[in-house]
Structure formats: C-alpha cells, structure tokens
C-alpha cells in the first residue's frame, strides 16, 4: 500500500510541477508528503509559488489557489488518461488571463481526448470548437438550443442571458 502510494505520488508530483509551470509561467509548484516516512500518518501538501511571490498555500489568493488545484486535476488525469473529460465552471473565479490559460490548455488536450466544458466565460467560449446552449424558457424545462454556433455563444458570454 505504501509502495503504491509513493509510486503514484512520484508520477503525479512530476505532472503537477510541469502543469503548474505551464498554467502559471514563471511560477513553481510541488506536491509534498507531510510525513514521507509514514505517509498515512500525514497529509499531502500542495505547495505553489506564483511568479514573483513568496511561497505558501495559505498566502495564495482565491484565483491563485484555483490555478494550483487545476494543475493538480490535470496531473491526476495524466496519470490515468480518459477518452473524455467533463469540466463544470472551473474558470469561475479566474481573471481573464488565467481563464485564457486554462481554456487554451483544455484546447491543447482536446486534440487527444474529448473535452466538454460548462462555462459562462467569454474567453472559454471563444476557444471552443463546438458550442451547446441550454436554456429553460421560464417553465423549468431544460432544452437544447438548436443551431447554436460560435457567434451566438460568444454573444451569450457578453450580453445578459435573458435573450436566450
């Protein structure tokens, strides 16, 4: 059990460092066991230093923490690749720069696996290859909007949703 965990950690930790550096250029991230000799007696720390900052997870802002967590999610996905991925509003507290970095990493990974991303952000809608609009016309019944292309989607990201 201990060997399995340390073996998995070694791979996921490398993935994490690589992906964090990709999402936050100039930053550095590491996964560290609190108690490397007895891993089951301690936790797993996600240590991240955004570019230009001092280090420490508890100093990170809301958006900086999300970027570290996203790097960890991608690191775990790389350990056990899946044919398709579903992401639900992972970009909600990111500024435009970070939302763009995240969406473009999804686009890159969408070359080898299918990515379905629920998003309200214009930046992510612009990067996507295909667009699906879901609405409920006030009666509580969900329906898909047919002929919902890129233009309509980007407009949604911009305008008040009511027009849908």
């Amino acid at each position: 059990r201990k060997e399995r965990l340390t073996a998995v950690l070694e791979i996921v930790s490398d993935n994490f460092t690589r992906t964090y550096a990709h999402l936050q250029p100039g930053g550095h991230g590491e996964l560290k066991l609190e108690n490397p000799k007895k891993p089951f007696e301690g936790g797993l720390e996600m240590w991240a230093r955004p570019p230009g900052k001092a280090s420490g997870l508890n100093l990170l802002s809301g958006g900086e923490k999300s970027m570290a967590a996203l790097a960890l999610i991608f690191a775990i996905q790389d350990y056990e690749p899946s044919p398709f991925y579903y992401f639900d509003e992972v970009d909600q507290n990111l500024d435009t720069f970070n939302a763009e970095a995240t969406a473009s990493l999804c686009k890159l990974r969408a070359q080898s696996a299918q990515f379905i991303m629920v998003t309200l952000r214009k930046v992510s809608l612009e990067m996507a290859d295909h667009h699906i609009g879901i609405t409920h016309a006030g009666d509580g019944c969900s329906r898909m909007i047919t002929d919902f292309g890129r233009e309509a989607a980007i407009e949604v990201g911009d305008a008040a949703y009511v027009e849908l």
Binding site: R4, L5, V8, L9, V12, P39, G42, G43, L44, M46, K65, S66, A68, A69, L70, I73, I76, Q77, Y79, E80, S82, P83, F84, Y86, F87, D88, E89, V90, C106, A110, Q111, Q114, F115, I116, M117, V118, T119, L120, L125, M127, D129, H130, H131, I132, G133, I134, T135, H136, D139, G140, C141, S142, R143, M144, A153, V156, G157, Y161, V162, L164
Partner: protein, 174 residues
Amino acid sequence: MHLVALELENFKSFKGEVTIPLSEGFTAVTGPNGSGKSNIGDAIQFVLGPKSSKSLRAQNLKQLIYNGGEKGRAAKFCKATLVFSNSSRNGGRRRLKLDADEVRLTRTIKLGRKDNINSAYHLNERPSSATEFRRLLTEAGARGDGYNIVLQGDVTQLAIMSGRARRRVLEDVA
C-alpha cells in the same frame, strides 16, 4: 472512442426526450443559471456509476426523475443513455472491449409501489448490470468517480481541503 450523444428522458430538469449530440475536440456548454447545464454532468455520472447519489446532488434517486416544475406533471421514470463511438479506427483495438462500432450504455430508474425505485442497466439494448458497466468503462479509462469528471465546486474544494483529505484523493487514484 468518444461520446457521440447523450439521450435523456425525464432526467432531472429535462422533460420528455432530449438528445444532445456531441463532437470530438473541445465543446463548450453555456446558458443561464438554473438552465440545466450541471444536470448534464449528473446524467453522465448517473450512467458511469458515481460513488453515491450524493454526488448527483440528489437526496435520493427519486429526485432524479423530472418533477414537473411549478405547474407540470411529475414523471414516473427517467432514463439516460451515453452513446460512445467505438470504432477500431486506424486498425487499432477498440477501446471498449465490445465488438461494435457504437456502444450505448443506458440506465433507467422507475418509481415503483410505495416509492421504492427499480434501477435497470442496458448495454446496446440488452439487459446488463452496474458491475458490467464498471468493468467495461474502467478498462477504457472512463471511470465515473475519477477526476475525468470535475463537477461544479470541485476545484475550490480541492484547493481548500485538508492535507489528509488530499492524500486520500491520491490513494483513490492509486
């Protein structure tokens, strides 16, 4: 292998039959708050087999059946089908170990007498089981309970959870 379509019938806020065609590459789903976007994620997990109904944001399976909204009539059953393409393109092996170009995984729940729920699984229209689904999907790397499905709020949870909880996440992966 990729998800070709999602066929829903009376699943949560989707009344009647609704088919959502999907493509390879990067697909964005958008719409107003409460329109039903996250219910699509719940439908995918419902078929792939999450650890518990809690992760489908429902207190019990009954809450997955269309409840009629404010003025409509509640349905008595709901169904969700994941349609996967499974071609042996480029001469490789099929990712889902089944000799078919298209694989349909269907899960149905029906409201029985005294509010009990009957759950049924079908694989390309023939009866199947949760265990067969799980075996087939795990071999293809499409787990229902891994981080290939990131639900609303999962990122924030992962960022603020304790070190021990995060270690357990990694143990699940191992």
